[in-house]
């Protein structure tokens, strides 16, 4: 492996929750004077060291609250680690939540531009990709109607189309693409394969083992903010599922990634 594209060294991240919520400056000053500022520390990541090479495809599993999303946010440069060092070389395209950055009053077309710009692209660069984005998303004439009329499937399709219209160095997906219909999911898979072939590194959080087995060649398992396993997907997934079964007595439910096609909620 040449120079790693993602290089995390002893990364810890702490959400400092004030025990008593101190929303105002006045109260803060009062508490500070009395020396009564106490915080509850919640370490979402603890001492995570991770090196990822260009073009690797990595799946991330773990229970709710294990730190998966926080790890993705650190790698996407949204959150800065409390301790440790995080170096990501190149452009990250993150999809941490469905429809982030969409303005629901604007039309699909306007949102293509808004989202593209939020990802750091220029108007001209978006002009060049616009037709391709609309075509891939398959939202058709809905592109001219406000995004608030879109179904969640359409939102996901449009967001994914914008995100992957350029070849990013790192593609970060937080269970985002499981919403579309069968046809779209297949197209997503193809698109991811293309990007991967072009050198994009993939990070994928999923509760669906099938997705990880299908896409990834390496799997991380996070438990209470720690990286407890890092290896071949089948091996890590087996251990993870085993531990889940031992913990809960039953296997965790697997979200169904092949939902029926979504219908628009309103017509334009």
């Amino acid at each position: 492996m040449s120079e790693p594209i993602i290089d995390l060294d002893g990364v810890s991240l702490c959400y400092r929750l004030a025990k008593q919520r101190i929303p105002s400056f006045k109260e803060y000053a009062l508490h500070w004077v009395r020396g009564a500022l106490t915080y509850e520390q919640l370490w979402a990541l603890r001492d995570v060291t991770l090196r990822v090479g260009r073009g690797e495809r990595i799946g991330i599993v773990g229970r709710n609250g294990a730190g998966k999303s926080t790890l993705l946010k650190v790698i996407s440069r949204v959150l800065t680690p409390t301790q440790g060092r995080c170096v990501v070389r190149g452009r990250v395209a993150p999809m941490l939540e469905l429809g982030t950055g969409f303005d629901f009053e604007l039309t699909g077309r306007e949102n293509v531009y808004l989202s593209g710009m939020l990802l750091g692209h220029s108007r001209r660069a978006i002009d060049a990709k616009y037709d391709g984005i609309v075509e891939f998303s398959g939202v058709g004439d809905f592109i001219r109607s406000p995004v608030r009329n879109y179904s969640s499937g359409m939102l996901a399709r449009l967001a994914f189309s914008i995100l992957t219209a350029w070849v990013p160095d790192v593609l970060v997906l937080d269970e985002a693409i499981a919403v579309g219909d069968v046809h779209f999911v297949r197209r997503c898979h193809e698109r991811i394969e293309e990007l991967s072939a072009a050198g994009t590194t993939l990070l994928l959080v999923s509760h669906a083992p099938d997705m990880i087995l299908a896409f990834c060649e390496r799997c991380l398992w996070l438990e209470a903010g720690r990286l407890v396993a890092d290896g071949a997907p089948d091996e890590v997934l087996t251990r993870y599922e085993h531990s889940q079964g031992a913990q809960a007595g039953t296997a965790a439910p697997v979200p169904d990634s092949t939902q029926p096609p979504d219908e628009p909620t309103a017509s334009s």
Binding site: L79, G101, L114, G120
Partner: protein, 254 residues
């Protein structure tokens, strides 16, 4: 800096959105931007013009120029403080340079100020105030006012994220500053022993560089201009440093 430049289209887009929201909400929006300072000017004129007759000729022009500056300054500061909160979703999920929001806010404030200048010119012509070539200096004055305001906005907007009462606190301070700045009164009415308070108010130096070309029809004297440039540069530097220092913490508190 490089990142901000890369996001220049985004900044421009945010400016346009801001303006569209401001002027679409009400059909009176655009009219109101022009009318509000005029109404304020009329009232100040009715109440104060006799009082200041000795010190100020053409009081309406003096007052209106002051009001326009003050509206720009105070509204932009309050709007930049709300700009980060208003985009919480984006700041928590996308690696966007956070400064784009206060920057776009101040730019849309500048555009707004430009629109509000239209009635000012109408008043200049209507009252027969001499129109001087010095008016061409105004873009420089507005640029300096914009940089100063941006500095203040960058300093205050993260604080507004950390503590929700900062917006109210700043509103109160702004009201105090309004009276401490010679917006609608002349410097000469301030008692001698307190005049330093007004003189060392940095906002005054920005204001005068804006008002000199309009009211006196002259380009500000070099020493005033130098002072104004220094004030704007220092404000911007402090604001930028404070913003950079606190910007990592913003997503945690928003």
């Amino acid at each position: 800096m490089k990142e901000l430049f890369q996001h220049r289209d985004l900044i421009w887009h945010l400016v346009k959105r801001d303006l569209r929201v401001r002027y679409r909400r009400s059909t009176l929006g655009l009219l109101w931007t022009m009318l509000q300072p005029l109404l304020m000017m009329v009232i100040l004129h009715v109440v104060f013009s006799n009082v200041f007759r000795g010190e100020l000729y053409a009081y309406p022009v003096y007052a209106l120029a002051g009001i326009l500056f003050w509206n720009f300054f105070s509204q932009s500061i309050v709007a930049s403080m709300n700009s980060l909160r208003g985009n919480a979703g984006i700041l928590q999920k996308l690696p966007v340079p956070k400064a784009v929001f206060p920057i776009a806010t101040v730019i849309s404030g500048v555009v707004n100020l430009g629109l509000a200048m239209v009635p000012l010119f109408a008043i200049l012509i209507f009252t027969g105030h001499p129109l001087s070539w010095a008016l061409l200096f105004l873009p420089v004055s507005i640029l300096l006012a914009g940089l100063f305001t941006l500095g203040a906005g960058l300093l205050l907007s993260p604080l507004a994220v950390f503590f929700s009462d900062v917006v109210e606190l700043v509103t109160v301070v702004l009201t105090l500053l309004l009276y401490l700045t010679p917006i609608f009164y002349p410097m000469s009415i301030v008692p001698e022993q307190f005049r330093w308070l007004v003189r060392f108010n940095p906002i005054r130096s920005i204001l005068e560089v804006f008002r000199d070309p309009i009211y006196f029809g002259k380009i500000p004297p070099p020493q005033h201009l130098a002072m104004c440039v220094a004030v704007a540069a220092i404000a911007l530097l402090i604001g930028a440093l404070a913003f950079r220092k606190s910007s990592d913490r913003i997503p945690f508190y928003i």
